[in-house]
């Protein structure tokens, strides 16, 4: 996607001002909520439209609600689920947190970091350690990457997950060192085999005993060691500092954030991201870079618009949140795993590949099935969820509801001919099935979220 004005990075990252060509409208409000939250209800979209883009972003960055109180109560539920080797219960509680949180951007960023560090319970085999790990990510998700990274290096789960529970002097762990360099910080092509050796040596002495991280001086291989061209007697802490001093680390993080918040298609040139990388490298404050991205001209440009594929979690949580509804999350967790996104269990150390890999013939059919289940079982505050109530004023004619649902889910992105064909069939098919109008509306909603357009964020 090339768009002339974006050739200038300074303009691209400057705050967005609506114009005749790029108005602040329902589509842009929907776009903002897909990226900075997990979708929005109609009422939230209307509020955002009235507030204007920058004030809408203020509210997403600093929600008015008591986020700390919400998370404290969510932590309590999670703690009760964090026992044993399986993370299935934990997974259900995280999904519930995503559905109910007053600070969806924080959960979305926590999910981002979970994909970045990509720790899997397939190896950790402890719900408690995985809960602690994700809690660490949540604590710093919009804060300091430096603190998060130091926390990660002090997290026993990380060592267990990477098969590095015994870093003996005689057996420095090269795969662990490679993951630190390639996935956590510098990125591929930014280090040598010698750097891998040096990092592995620097971490000798660290062991996990009974889920605790311990340091055994006698197992540490001290002495001169060359890392990134510098000689020294490196230990783990010094390695962490050296890695954060490398511009490549900030560049890689910004590139990953760009993929998460702006576009998976068409990776941009380094020069385009450089202003943000320089900004991040100053003090590794993540929130500030996230804010710059969300407020930017680039964010509200065709470069970004529906240029990501919704992950299964984004698809499902987005649907439920946009309806202002809630659903049982135990089954949902399993269904999302089937669609390729098993929370607490990313496939490899590279995290979820995402993008076009989310979609294939089978996952597309699976998403439709999941949407049916979610729509049929979702609940509102006072009993079964009602499509008619979800879309706004209660005095509008029933016949208008399908159109209102289409506006809520797709904001005019579906060609009108397609939309008519979908909705006309849906109402009659639903009515045939049960002679009851709610089924027709559920059918409408299911067809809308099964469209190719809806799979894109």
């Amino acid at each position: 996607m090339s768009w002339e004005p974006l050739a200038d990075p300074a303009w691209a990252w400057a705050p967005f001002e609506p114009s005749a060509a790029q108005p602040w409208d329902l589509r842009q409000a929907g776009h903002l909520y897909r990226r900075a939250a997990f979708g929005a209800t109609r009422a939230q979209l209307d509020q955002a439209l009235a507030a204007g883009p920058q004030r809408a972003i203020d509210a997403l960055l600093e929600p008015a609600a008591d986020v700390a109180a919400f998370n404290r109560s969510a932590d309590t539920y999670e703690a009760a689920a964090a026992s044993g080797a399986s993370t299935h219960e934990l997974r259900a509680w995280w999904l519930r947190r995503m559905i109910e949180t007053p600070h969806p951007l924080l959960e979305r960023m926590t999910l981002f970091w979970h994909g970045h560090f990509a720790l899997s319970n397939a190896r950790v085999r402890s719900a408690q350690l995985m809960a602690d790990h994700v809690q660490l990510l949540r604590r710093h998700a919009l804060g300091s990457f430096r603190e998060m990274f130091e926390g990660v290096l002090a997290d026993p789960a990380v060592y267990l997950g990477l098969g590095a529970q015994a870093n003996r002097r005689a057996r420095p762990n090269l795969p662990f060192a490679r993951t630190l360099l390639e996935q956590f910080t510098l990125g591929a092509g930014q280090f040598t085999d010698q750097d891998i050796q040096a990092v592995a040596r620097a971490f000798t002495g660290w062991f996990v005993f009974q889920q605790d991280l311990r340091y055994l001086e006698r197992e540490h291989d001290s002495g001169p060691n060359r890392l990134l061209g510098r000689a020294g007697d490196w230990d783990a802490r010094q390695v962490a500092q050296a890695l954060l001093q490398q511009p490549a680390t900030a560049r890689r993080l910004v590139r990953q954030l760009y993929r998460w918040l702006i576009a998976e298609e068409d990776p941009p040139a380094d020069a385009f991201l450089e202003p943000l990388a320089v900004e991040l490298a100053r003090d590794y404050q993540i929130g500030r870079v996230v804010e710059t991205m969300l407020r930017s001209n680039a964010f509200f440009s065709p470069l970004a618009y529906r240029q990501r594929v919704k992950s299964p979690v984004e698809f499902a949580i987005g649907l439920v949140r946009s309806l202002g509804a809630t659903v049982g999350t135990t089954q949902l967790g399993a269904a999302l795993a089937d669609l390729g996104q098993d929370l607490y269990q990313p496939p490899t150390v590279a995290g979820w590949a995402g993008h076009r890999y989310w979609l294939n013939r089978f996952t597309v059919l699976g998403r439709v099935q999941l949407a049916h289940t979610l729509l049929a079982t979702s609940k509102g505050p006072n009993g079964p969820w009602d499509a008619a109530l979800a879309v706004g004023p209660q005095d509008r004619p029933t016949a208008a509801v399908p159109q209102l649902l289409a506006d809520l889910f797709l904001e005019g992105d579906l060609a009108e001919a397609s939309q008519q064909a979908l909705l006309a069939g849906a109402m009659s098919a639903g009515a045939d099935a049960a002679q009851r109008q709610p089924d027709g509306l559920i059918e409408c909603a299911a067809r809308l979220v099964a469209t190719p357009e809806y799979q894109l964020s």
């Binding site: 298609e265 529906r306 990501r308 490899t348 294939n360 289940t373 992105d413 099964a450 894109l456």
Partner: protein, 424 residues
């Protein structure tokens, strides 16, 4: 103008609930819906990979009845020669696997003897991990060998996903990919068809209503949307094909499958093959989930016999089903298990974890017969049989010569092929 619902079907894909689905394609898309024909640059051969979980006792599956050591090593478990289904003057199939005998003599079953690997693991998890990754001893290998094949050939825009797992147990690690999402298909058997497919007519063409095109997302300038449309189109075409196959199966005289879980799984595989969706590898599992599986440490005889009966009869029905539709020449089924068992029985009328064991190959394009000789019962590997053929040679043969994939790229090493296919 009333638009008919294109189709109305139930599918169980990655969930336990069966639900009515309807096409999400708007008019423009459903008009151009294309059937998923086999893709030109692919072969159309199919591999069915059947995992026997727990460590199958190869020695009581293919029995060297002329070997005294066999009878001496197994005072209670030995199988008498007259009850066996003979392959030749030395070897016979287990009494409960007459179906294997028939297939063998018809040339549709080959026995690959003494398959294993060096320094084989004796623990279930470690050994199965080795068979799944094809990287023995590399405990942290992040992907399975089939998963590696999937990531190697799959391309969302151009090639359909080449492999699926069929069954209700957790997906085995051999399908673990780095990138692609591999589905677990539980069943297609309970499709409620509210309307026959004959009712699903192409939508009548009509003029597009005049409207500002600016509002809709234009797929011409949005490659990601074009891709999502392409995949959605293929998804619905695939669903329609499956629906047609299931409907057709009800009308025609279906081949009777025995009432075993494995038979149901293989019937689903046959339906998926018949629907011609471009799936090249089907993985399935038998015997997993604890008690009653192939891990026969105690009172083995009845349990093992029941498993072999289910295995052989399910496979025979599968072969008959494919043969009826002249599909057998495209299909090759291969069994594997994490290890064989000890030659000597233990004190509990069972056997313990061993090493090498035979693999069974079933299909229409096999050389047939026995491949390799029976491993010695006296020259053992920790109480189990020594391997003669490294299992990675089998994988490489399947990849290069059966599927037409590049084994070097997938397995990371070149392995000498094993000569079991009709025309290598």
């Amino acid at each position: 103008m009333p638009i008919r619902r294109r189709d109305f079907l139930k599918i169980s894909l990655g969930g336990s609930t069966l639900l009515a689905l309807s096409s999400p394609l708007g008019e423009s898309l459903s008009q151009s819906a294309e059937p998923p024909a086999p893709q030109r640059h692919d072969r159309d051969t199919v591999l069915v990979l059947l995992q026997l979980s727990g460590g199958n006792d190869g020695l009581n599956t293919v029995v060297p009845f002329e070997d005294d050591l066999y009878h001496r090593s197994r005072p209670t478990l030995r199988l008498a020669a007259q009850r066996l289904h003979k392959l030749d003057a030395q070897l016979g199939f287990h009494p409960d696997a007459p179906a294997f005998g028939r297939l063998y003599h018809e040339g549709q079953l080959s026995v690959l003897q003494g398959v294993g690997y060096p320094d084989s693991d004796r623990n279930h998890d470690g050994a199965m991990r080795d068979w799944h990754t094809a990287r023995p001893g590399l405990a942290l290998c992040p992907t399975g060998w089939v998963g590696g094949a999937i990531d190697h050939v799959y391309d969302a825009a151009d090639r359909d996903l080449p492999a699926v797992f069929v069954g209700s147990t957790p997906t085995p690690f051999n399908l673990q990919t780095e990138k692609a999402v591999v589905p677990a298909i539980r069943s297609l058997s309970d499709w409620g068809l509210a309307q026959s497919t004959a009712d699903a007519r192409p939508l009548p063409s009509r003029k597009r209503p005049a409207r500002s095109a600016a509002a809709a997302l234009p797929s011409q300038t949005h490659p990601l949307l074009a891709l999502a449309q392409h995949i959605t189109r293929r998804a619905w075409a695939s669903a329609a094909r499956l629906e047609a196959v299931v409907a057709e199966g009800r009308r025609a005289n279906p081949v009777e499958y025995p009432p075993f879980g494995l038979a149901g799984t293989l019937q689903t595989v046959a339906q998926l093959i018949r629907a011609n969706l471009g799936i090249r590898i089907f993985a399935a599992e038998f015997g997993g989930g604890g008690i009653g599986g192939f891990d026969t440490h105690a009172n083995q005889a009845a349990n093992h016999g029941a498993l072999l009966r289910q295995l052989s009869e399910s496979i025979v029905a599968f072969v008959a089903d494919l043969r009826r539709d002249r599909l057998l020449d495209r299909v090759l089924l291969v069994t594997f298990s994490e290890f064989g068992r000890t030659v000597a029985e233990n004190g509990r009328r069972g056997t313990d974890h061993g090493a090498a064991a035979p693999l069974f190959l079933v299909g229409g394009k096999l050389k047939g017969g026995l491949i390799g000789s029976h491993p010695s019962l006296s020259d053992l590997d920790g109480g189990g049989l020594k391997f003669q053929t490294d299992f990675r040679r089998v994988y490489a043969t399947l990849l290069d010569h059966w599927l037409g994939f590049d084994s070097l790229a997938i397995l990371g090493e070149r392995f000498e092929p094993v000569d079991f296919l009709e025309s290598i």
